[in-house]
């Protein structure tokens, strides 16, 4: 499989010392998109660490995801300006509409949900970024609208 070759190639470039654990996890996520159960197990094996410890570290950091990112990764900004203007309500609304928690991907693999800190367009806060497009001045009400439009586009395209 191509994916396991990629992982082997990455592991091959590192010594199995603890300080290399985070760089390895970061690089695998960058190449593969996420850290699956199997990946966490092979990383644990490589570093001679208990799998429970690798799982502990992967779940501790927000930057790691354990599921594929989804065709439309939804990034809700929780930077200071967006947060003050209700960014967390927008995140809640997406979570409710998509029925997934932050860091998860919908069953059909269409949507992923993440929070990030600042895209640099605080003047139109609160903002959401989906497929490199910025959605300005979001409200919980426009969340549904955004999702309907994306789903429609998918049907047509």
């Amino acid at each position: 499989m191509e994916e396991s070759n990629q992982i082997e190639e990455i592991l091959g470039r590192f010594h199995p010392e603890r300080e290399n654990l985070l760089p390895v996890l970061q690089e695998i996520q960058e190449k593969v998109g996420y850290l699956s159960r199997e990946v966490m197990e092979s990383v644990a094996h490589f570093f001679h660490l208990p799998p429970s410890e690798v799982f502990s570290i992967v779940t501790f950091y927000n930057q790691f995801r354990r599921k594929p990112p989804g065709r439309h990764p939804v990034h809700v900004c929780l930077g200071t300006a967006c947060y003050l203007l209700g960014g967390s309500l927008i995140l809640d609304a997406f979570s409710r509409e998509l029925q997934i928690k932050k860091g998860d991907t919908t069953e059909d693999g269409n949507f992923g949900l993440e929070s990030t800190a600042c895209f640099g367009c605080c003047n139109v806060a609160p903002v959401v970024k989906i497929n490199s497009q910025i959605y300005p001045k979001m409200t919980p009400g426009t969340v549904e609208e955004v999702l309907i439009n994306l789903r429609d586009k998918d049907k047509k395209g």
């Binding site: 644990a44 208990p50 799998p51 429970s52 410890e53 799982f55 779940t59 501790f60």
Partner: protein, 219 residues
Amino acid sequence: MPSLIIDGKEIKADPGEKILWVALRSGIYIPHLCATEGAELPFGGCRLCLVEVEIGGRREMIPACAEPVREQMRVYTQTEKIAKMRRTAFELIMSDHHIDCKNCAKRKTCELIRISSSLKWSLRPKKLRSLVRDLPIDDSHPLFSFDPKKCVKCAKCIRVCQRLENSFLDFAYRGFEMVLTTFDHRPLSSLRCESCLECVKVCPTGALFPKESGGTADG
């Protein structure tokens, strides 16, 4: 042999020993939950063993389980400030604890009950809201179960399992979301656990408890 002064009493200690164990040995009670005697790296997570230590003329708040003794060190275990801090730490622990002593298998050996009765604190938090998370009990294992709603996250079970070179348990997530769990939340029965039950023995609360039919049930 260094000697230190705890609450005005001069006490002899072994070099490198931590304040907590010296105090307990000489009959000075300091509440503690997560400390293990002889631990190379004290966890220092429960904050119940906070004491005040005189350092360069100033008093500093330090967990007694993590601080090694020094010659002529002055330690205070009973100040008003400490009582306040410990009480808050205890309330924080109890605020997400499912208090159900009547049905708890560990009620006879529960460290929380011991602490609350020796310091005359109520088990139920007074200043904080109770925020018990809705987490499922894992009772897949034939000999013991795990109830995350009673876990105080002292890491004692993690350490003991690690020492026995199994390391099935660890924390996952962080902050309020933190839970004790296995790799990928696998059920306890699916691990190659040899059922030594050491984790159940070190657990200070009813989080890890023996099943009534087997093991060392005493509840």
